[in-house]
């Protein structure tokens, strides 16, 4: 089974819940557990929030793109912005590292994505933007077994 969707929306914080709910709805036919569902929602929230707050910090009219692909029981998600990009990716991914302490950012976005998903890759270039790629196996495959 293969199922694919892509969405693009205005980089405003109001759309973070929308993005999270949409991805949850998209994967729901894979019959995930509540925990898997909540893991994916958390990871998507963190990635979208980063795109809005860091990527498009002070830039008007930005767009966030989410690509989702389900292949068998593996979910692939990409969250893409065309914003400021990240200079030092390794450092950005360290727990507690944040460039926005004044906004009460915890520096735990990337560590959460890493913990809640099976795989995390970050591709970024200053002034070009950032691509966050995540993968997760969704355990309950009853839906796939039932397929004829």
């Amino acid at each position: 089974m293969r199922n694919e969707m892509t969405m693009e929306f205005d980089a405003i914080s109001e759309n973070e819940a929308f993005a999270r709910i949409s991805v949850a709805a998209f994967i729901s036919f894979l019959n995930p557990t509540l925990e898997e569902m909540s893991d994916v929602k958390t990871a998507v929230s963190e990635a979208v929030t980063n795109a809005v707050i860091h990527g498009y910090d002070g830039i008007e009219g930005g767009k966030v793109v989410i690509n989702c692909l389900i292949e068998k029981d593996v979910l692939h998600i990409e969250v893409i912005d065309k914003g400021k990009g990240i200079e030092n990716i390794e450092r950005a991914m360290e727990p507690l590292f944040t460039t926005k302490p004044e906004l009460n950012r915890s520096g735990m976005g990337f560590p959460f994505m890493e913990a809640f998903m099976d795989d995390l890759e970050v591709i970024s270039e200053p002034d070009k933007g950032t691509i966050v790629q995540m993968k997760k196996k969704i355990g309950c495959t009853s839906w796939i077994e039932d397929e004829e």
Binding site: A17, I21, S28, F29, N31, L34, D146
Partner: protein, 77 residues
């Protein structure tokens, strides 16, 4: 019929349907109360305040209700 079975099986949300249905019931009660008192339809924000459920939970709970209705729809088709 096969349609209903496919429906129940395919939709992972059935798993969480118990809480969602309870929330759905709470939401409908609250919406009715507000519209009775105000003489107009309740908004999402008002329902959210009174039920202490997030907008997100309300959207999901209403989806669970749609599903229940769709099941009935397929039954009567």
């Amino acid at each position: 019929s096969g349609e209903i079975k496919r429906f129940l099986r395919d939709d992972g949300m059935v798993k969480v349907s118990r809480t969602l249905k309870e929330n759905g019931w709470k939401i409908k009660q609250t919406a009715e109360k507000i519209s009775y008192e105000q003489g107009r339809e309740a908004t999402l924000e008002e329902i959210s305040k009174l039920t202490e459920l997030s907008i997100e939970d309300i959207v999901m709970a209403m989806e669970a209700n749609v599903e229940v209705e769709s099941i009935y729809k397929s039954v009567y088709q």
